[in-house]
Amino acid sequence: MAVAAPTQTMNNVEAVRATLYEALKADPRTIVLGEDVGARGNVFLITKGFIEEFGPERIVDTPLAEASIVGIAVGMAMEGLRPIAEIQFADFIYPAFNQIVGEAAKTRYRSNGDYTCPLVIRTPYGGGVRGALSHSVSIEALFYHVPGLKIVAPSFPADIKGLLTSAIEDPDPVLFLEHKRTYRLVKGEVPTGRYTIPIGKADVKRAGDQLTVVSYGLYVHQALDAAARLEGDGMSIEVIDLRSIRPMDKGTILESIRKTRKLLIVHEDNKFGGIGAEIAAMVAEEAFFDLDAPIRRLCGPDVPAMGYAAPLEEEFMISTEQMAETMRELVRF
């Protein structure tokens, strides 16, 4: 991104919306399909007004049927369209699991490149919105095991625009995760005009030399707050926003650890078998002797989901105070 580029202040909803709008404008092969994306303009109003401007052939209000939202998008993609399928909430992606894992992710592989599946599946995920069991889940660990899929989860407006543009132009299927708590909470400057951010590139959101914190989604913002608080206590903490989950940026993580010699991984998804487990294993394989402290993970507890009652949600979510406390412990280790 050029430093002097003109920018516009946007929240995350506006960033998604602006990027989709530009993609629809730029390429007539682009089709948006999903539940309530038309007249209602999506439940978060991301596509409000699109159906009037682009017509019902390109902004497709689908029947309430997730398997075929993705499956039909796969067929469109195989035949050369550039579908952007929406799953209204990540919690409802399970019926489409077959089409994502069994079909989209394997189209190029099984046909040895004869057919490809340039498809984006957007979905809001994550908690902190009193969404309870079925409007709060994180789904990335269920999918990051799958070769053939790419997973992106940016949480700053400028990253959303650059990565969603990349996802739409990507020749392979991309699961694009939008943390719904950040939708209107997070604002930032977004460069005007078209630009891309490569999928698979993390971003050091804050430089430091005593501890590396790796996170993504809502928790990047909290980790940055926690790190800022600890600065007053003389602690220097580096915060890496993964942005992409598969492929994942090994180089940025290792480079940081070789400097700070300590690693904390923070994610909202359940701990067991989560993204943090893979990062920890990779670091143990590649940088074991560079570490001065055990790797720590702060993750969602291993229960099926967060509850509806405020204390049950709060217990699931990791507070900024908890993050700060763990960071402090690690720096002092």
Partner: protein, 337 residues
Amino acid sequence: MSDTAVANMPAVTNEQSLTLLRNMLLQRAVDSRGFQLNRQGKIAIAMGSEGHEAAQAGTGLAFERGQDLLYPYYRNTGILLACGFPLADLFRSQFARVTDRTGGRSIINHVTAKGLGIASISSIIAAQCAHAVGAAYKLKYLKETGRAVFCQHGEGATSEGEWHEAMNFAAIHRLPVVFVCENNRWAISTPQSKQMVNQDVAAKAGGYGMRGEIVDGFDPIAVYQTVREARDRAANGGGPTLVEAQCYRFLSHTTDDDDRTYRSREEVETQRKLDPVPRFERRLVEAGVINEAALAALRAEVSATVNATTDAIEAEPLPPAAGLYGNVYEGPDDPWA
């Protein structure tokens, strides 16, 4: 099942009848060769489509090459050949040679030929139905009138949610797609009666406001006429149709199955008496479309072609182990960037 005379249907020329016959003979020869090769330990699995010859030859003849798109299923030897898929490539799929269009990755009959409009499929029952509908959406969206999508599946597939979702969406958008159900009465060991209460799969179309047609799947001309009519309607904006071609699976599900464990020999023998291949031979001879000598020559030609192709493809090499890698993404396979 009797030969139904269908009124106002596209006429079938003698030349087309002979195309149907050759396709049926070829399909049977390829399939039985697959079973032989499996018994000889030369290929890991074979999937026969004996009993489907008429349904597939008729459907394949209705397919407009260079225009239409085929979303097949795994039991589609005859349709693939009828839609222009090369015989040699079918054997490359059977033998999983390096020359196979999927590089030996996909199991037998799971082919790919984008240039011919033949889609790559997985083995996941009914998953291709949603893809077929997405493909049909594209044809409609780009106003490519005159083109249609063929979506093939068995009757067992019509129990899958994805089949229903695909039917529903196709009907809502009046998409140019023909669902052709090859109802062979069995899904591995599960008879139709345990799959659904309906006697006729075609009746399910009504639930979606779609046209449903039943056709004798042992009569290639009737299948051609019904499917072609549905195809022309679809290609010209008249919306989708579900065609149920009623046939039978004469062999076990695959070479890994033994149908003696779940269905009676009497049932199979009764159906064998209706075998569409000899029946269509006799019909063409009686109609004077082909004489006995020409029929014998045709059989010999098909047999010689299949033998020669088997030998040629068997001699081709297997893919190297490195063929496991690549084409996971356009870029590197590595999940670590």
